[in-house]
């Protein structure tokens, strides 16, 4: 069994292989803390393969529905489409993949082949992520969660208007379906002893997050009406009759502070002021939080430090702030300085501290888990180990506060460390591949790219959204998602030369609209990946078949072609949707009798692809091309039409008949598409079955 176990291609190995399979990664993947294969899931949405897309998201982003709503999407900041007309809306596409598959059956449990048990303490983002990886690797994983459901901060803390709780539950259910045991309402130290967990499992992962809100002991801090952020947010999330005073002051400038302020507004507070030490440019919350908070009428007051809470009759009456002249000193250390001459007084019924969080280490008191002088777990960031031989830790409890996706990254590393520990018995640094991103788009390539405006998700108007905790942001419909996904330029997944097959004939150089190919000093073609858009024109023309194109790989296309041995095979681009031929089908369903073969762009369509379909026995082949204004690429030459016509002539020569191939171009309407397909099918019926089939029968 042991040798079998070591042969398993683990999650971490698979990821490592993917990370190193090509030297340069697209900027989105490079910027993503979990290095998600963003192009793949975006491309799958573009192709209408939503379920596959969701699974591709989940490989690295284990909570797609939740992160599709709350991720701060650094991927989009680096998207090279920013240099054209706007980043691809990656987060919305991820959310779409999750939402559109909400009713799909869950995946089957992964067999527990490793014979090893792992306890994960804490079912937040980090714990769930590590559990996902380890369960996928065949370990028997149990999560011990103190709340009544998993999710951690995104369950108890993040407000419903940003992340509805059923979405979290959906993400958790998908992880549970892998065979992960989830023990809710089970607090370590209260319901189960840490030492028992450590001795009863082959490995333990502590991922308890930061669940205790901090306050500041300024005068009045213990008055009635002074609240702490996390308990307040939990109350707002789960107590339908939660209330708050009319005037609320929030202290803090992080995302939690904004969650508090905006939740207070939704609970009925009329005046909500947020005061923070940082000046406007230093406010740590995401920039869009400031924009949306202001839209909702929240007053943001930068550069103010709390001085004292004014108390009347034991209750909060107001708060005084002193001017904060500096947050960090010259060495960059947090060391605020104040000007006590400048004061700000705000009348308030409630003051909420949202200035930071600490870990709740009560469950580990009296155990042999070592903590430092500040009560933090002694932890090695490289091995993710604690002082105990089989106990690891990850997530915010050890890294400190950060974005959800950062906790996810750390949890992947922890799973890698545990997988290695349980497979080989060794502990060592987790080697982390930091992908190198390809360069920016050259100007001549930017000039050659067809402009396609970015789609934004609908957002409820501020005046309406502050009246309830209903989710403020909507998602894409199918058409918009497919269109938006089609804006991805597949950076760095482009053409690759097979040097030993290249005759340096210049065909690629001549047919490329983007100026990507060139003849290298070695006198073979090479490709500038900064320019390549993966359209595949070159690969379909190369006389030496010396070019592979990442997403438009022949093997993948051939697999799709081979799915049909009868009926009509339709070649279409990513944006083409099978339902155009049958309004009764969903966009993801291919009407009966049609085999829809999608490629990045039908410019990639190779004469060999059409011949392969015919040889497989289909009666006819239809070739679509998107309308010029929708095409992701420039249409200097309609390559799909050129190649369809070449094959028609060849089929005439062969004796099968070129009439079996039809270039259909694009359609304005389903009616037009149906009519064209109807006419083509009638023509095929007249021609009779594919003569190759008759031969086979004979």
């Amino acid at each position: 069994m042991a040798s079998e176990a070591t042969n398993v291609n683990s999650q971490s190995e698979a990821f490592e292989t993917w990370m190193t399979d090509q030297p340069l990664k697209p900027p989105c993947t490079s910027a993503c803390p979990v290095n998600a294969d963003i192009q793949s899931f975006v491309s799958l949405v573009a192709q209408g393969r939503f379920k596959e897309s969701l699974e591709a998201v989940r490989e690295r982003c284990t909570l797609p529905g939740s992160l599709g709503r709350i991720c701060h999407h650094p991927c989009e900041g680096e998207c090279r489409r920013n240099d054209v007309e706007g980043a691809v809306n990656i987060r919305a596409i991820k959310r779409f993949a999750s939402d559109v598959c909400a009713d799909e059956p869950l995946t089957e449990a992964v067999p527990k082949t490793r014979g090893k048990k792992v306890a994960v303490i804490g079912g937040g983002v980090a714990g769930l992520t590590a559990a996902y990886d380890l369960a996928k690797d065949g370990f028997d994983v149990a999560i011990y969660e103190q709340n009544d459901a998993c999710g951690g901060a995104i369950y108890t803390g993040v407000p419903k208007y940003r992340l509805p709780k059923d979405v979290v539950a959906r993400d958790v259910a998908a992880i549970e379906s892998l065979g992960v045991t989830i023990k809710i309402n089970t607090a370590v130290g209260r319901d189960i002893a840490f030492d028992d967990l450590a001795s009863g499992h082959d490995a333990v992962l502590i991922a308890i997050g930061l669940t205790v809100s901090r306050g500041i002991p300024i005068p009045g801090h213990d008055a009635s009406g002074v609240l702490l952020a996390l308990p307040f947010l939990k109350e707002a999330n789960f107590n339908d009759s939660a209330t708050i005073g009319k005037r609320v002051v929030v202290i803090g400038g992080g995302n939690v502070a904004f969650d508090v302020a905006r939740s207070a507004k939704r609970l009925g507070a009329e005046e909500v002021s947020l005061c923070c030490l940082e000046c406007e440019d230093e406010i740590p919350a995401f920039s869009w939080e400031l924009v949306e908070a202001r839209e909702e009428g929240i007053s943001i007051n930068p550069s103010w430090g709390p001085k004292e809470i004014k108390v009347e009759d034991g209750k909060v009456a107001g708060i005084a702030f002193k001017r904060c002249s500096r947050v960090f000193d010259e060495k960059g250390v947090f060391n605020p300085a104040y000007d006590e001459n400048e004061l700000l007084n705000i009348e308030a019924d409630n003051v909420v501290f949202a200035i930071g969080q600490g870990a709740d280490m009560n469950g580990f008191t009296g155990t042999s888990l070592e903590v430092d002088e500040r009560g933090r777990i002694k932890w090695d960031a490289l091995t993710l180990k604690t002082n105990l031989p089989n106990v690891f830790a990850c997530g915010e409890v050890v890294t400190g506060p950060g974005a959800a996706v950062a906790a996810m990254r750390n949890a992947h590393h922890a799973a890698t460390a545990i997988e290695r520990f349980l497979t080989t018995g060794t502990v060592g640094p987790v080697v982390i591949s930091e992908p190198v991103a390809i360069g920016r788009l050259p100007q001549y390539t930017i000039d050659a790219i067809v402009r396609k405006e970015k789609n934004h998700v609908p957002v409820i108007e501020p005046a309406e959204r502050v009246t309830s905790f209903i989710e403020a942001e909507g998602g894409f419909d199918i058409d918009t998602a497919i269109y938006e996904a089609g804006r991805c330029m597949n950076c760095g997944r482009g053409a690759e030369i097979i040097p030993e097959k290249c005759a340096a004939c210049l065909t690629c150089v001549r047919v490329c609209p983007f100026g990507a190919p060139y003849i290298s000093a070695a006198r073979v073609a090479d490709f500038d990946w900064d320019s390549c858009q993966s359209c595949g024109i070159c690969a379909a023309e190369c006389p030496g078949m010396a070019i592979n194109v990442g997403f438009n790989d022949d093997t993948l296309i051939n697999e799709r072609i081979d799915a049909a041995a009868s009926g009509v095979t339709v070649f279409g681009c990513q944006l083409g949707k099978p339902d155009i031929f049958n309004p009764a089908s969903k966009a993801t369903q291919v009407p009966p009798g049609l085999n829809f073969v999608k490629m990045m762009c039908t410019s990639r369509l190779d004469m060999r692809h059409i011949l392969r379909a015919i040889e497989n026995g289909v009666d006819g082949v239809a070739v679509m091309a998107c309308p010029d204004d929708k095409c992701r690429y420039r249409k200097d030459v309609n390559w799909a039409e050129v190649r369809a016509n070449r094959v028609k002539r060849l089929l005439d020569e062969i004796g099968i008949g070129g009439d079996r191939v039809e270039f259909m171009g694009s359609f304005d309407s389903q009616e037009a598409a149906q009519q064209a397909m109807g006419e083509f099918k009638a023509k095929l019926a007249e021609l009779g079955p594919n003569p190759l089939i008759k031969v086979m029968v004979k």
Partner: protein
């Protein structure tokens, strides 16, 4: 570069009618560059042949290989398992086809392309004849434009009466070679030399059974 054009499928099919196992060999140099004889052309031609025979109800096995050049024995050594086939179809220029025929003396070899000319690659998929291999180059006398290849009559001293606004009377929008020569020499400022009579060429040098030996 040597330019060749594909033979019709009918012709290839007829040539190998007697066989049911043939090897199709491409050439990765000139004919690949002119999109006629590389790996893609071999694959498409072989597929077409296979399908055409299937339509006729007689399957044929077509092996597919492409070597770097068929005009060198060393590269022809890379052709594998030729003896397992009854015949070879070569998608090389006439030189390469003969190379294959010499390499495999006991196997019938058939041409899959028609070799046409030595040409210039004007743009993607478009080639023009530039050289006849006359054996006595006079491009220095004609402004770098060859009258032998680019005048329909290979005239050596100025255009014939068929020149027409810069075009040749043979039609097809072909340029008159001598107008090209005149314009080029004017551009070079060497029109005075245009009046000098070019001596008749020794067409013996363009004759057959030529060889070259520069080993000494």
């Amino acid at each position: 570069m040597i330019v060749a054009e594909p033979k019709s499928l009918d012709e290839i099919k007829a040539m190998v009618d007697a066989y049911d196992r043939v090897l199709m060999v491409g050439c990765g140099t000139c004919v690949e560059v002119c999109l006629t004889g590389g790996e893609r052309a071999v694959n498409l031609t072989a597929t077409a042949l296979r399908l055409a025979r299937k339509v006729d109800g007689r399957d044929i096995e077509v092996g597919e290989q492409t070597v770097i050049r068929q005009c060198d024995f060393e590269y022809l050594d890379e052709v594998r398992d030729a003896d397992e086939y009854q015949a070879i179809v070569s998608l090389a220029c006439g030189v390469g086809i003969q190379g294959i025929a010499r390499k495999f003396p006991n196997t019938p070899v058939f041409p899959g392309v028609n070799t046409t000319f030595m040409g210039f690659n004007e743009e993607y998929g478009y080639y023009t004849e530039m050289c006849k291999g006359c054996g006595e180059c006079i491009l220095h006398l004609t402004g770098g434009v060859c009258p032998v290849a680019r005048c329909a009559k290979s005239l050596l001293n100025g255009p014939c009466g068929g020149t027409n606004n810069g075009k040749c009377e043979i039609g097809g929008d072909k340029d008159c070679g001598w107008v090209l020569i005149y314009n080029k020499m004017e551009q070079l400022g060497t029109l005075d030399k245009f009046k000098e009579i070019n001596q008749p060429k020794n067409y013996g040098k363009a004759g057959n059974i030529r060889s070259m030996d520069i080993r000494k």
